[in-house]
Amino acid sequence: MGDFYHLYPVNEEERKRYDRVFEKELLPHIDALSTFAFHLTLNEDDADDLVQETYLKAYRFIDKYLEGTNAKAWLFKILKNAYINEYRRKSKAPAHVDYEDIIGYQDSEESAIGEYTDLREELFNTVMGDEVTNAINSLPVDFRTVILLCDVEGFTYEEIAKILDVPIGTVRSRLFRARNVLKDKLKAYAETMGFSDKRKSRSRKLEE
């Protein structure tokens, strides 16, 4: 933390303004950042460290933040970069990304217009809350990230693209694939709980 200084000297008036912006616009997002950090690091202590680092960086560069704009997206971007720079690189056991399991994984928009996993509505009664969280946490981090940003935090594609530094088409295709992988996981879980998808046998009977 020794390098924690603003990029240029600030006077007392500026310092007070920065403190006010920090308290009023940045700190209110700490719970959302904390949840996001936890789902990235999968560890309570690492998540707290990541949140703290995010806020220290945010304050250091607070002169780059335009008061009254999208503080939440700005903070999420800082947190994501901090995670990539520090935690992923330093981790002795980096998040396992088994791309062999993700058939045809590509980040092109066009590739998103492929097969999609459909679910039976009954499945939603079978899957338990813990299993949803476990399934999300078992996704490759790139997939986990877009699901959390879009489906949990409600960011737009445009905001997610800015947070992740990727084109909007990539956000769309990544979301599509992430949701399909998640559905496959939930479906597999539901099947172990006795749920069976009878649509195929039913449609075969209809064809006969």
């Binding site: 933390m1 924690f4 200084y5 000297p9 310092r15 920090f22 700190l27 700490i30 719970d31 904390s34 949840t35 936890f38 789902h39 998540a47 707290d48 949140v51 703290q52 806020y55 220290l56 304050y59 066009e110 998103a112 217009i113 492929g114 097969e115 999609y116 459909d118 679910l119 039976r120 509505e121 939603f124 899957v127 338990m128 809350g129 813990d130 949803v132 969280t133 999300i136 699901i147 959390l148 879009c150 489906d151 949990v152 737009t156 594609y157 769309r172 979301l175 599509f176 949701r179 998640l182 559905k183 939930l186």
Partner: protein
């Protein structure tokens, strides 16, 4: 290569619809298609349920402790004082 299957295309639109990426006219079209076609209606309902399932069940961490917030404030304050 684009898949010509109308269900796939509708599913793509449903994703955009639920992600608030369509304009008003496109939103109306998605809803109208669901009213007109039971299969489309099922796609829309199932996708909506899937999104709800995620939102309702993803573990939210409890409120951040005042200790962590105080730590952040103290570090900012102490670093600032050292300038």
């Amino acid at each position: 290569m684009r898949n010509p299957d109308p269900i796939h295309e509708y599913h793509r639109m449903v994703n955009m619809f639920l992600d608030h990426q369509l304009n008003d006219e496109e939103n109306q079209k998605v809803l109208h298609q669901a009213q007109e076609n039971p299969e489309f209606q099922r796609v829309l309902r199932t996708e909506q349920n899937f999104r709800d399932l995620i939102k309702k069940n993803v573990v939210q961490r409890p409120h951040v402790t005042s200790r962590l917030i105080d730590n952040i404030r103290n570090k900012i304050s102490s670093q600032g004082d050292g300038k």
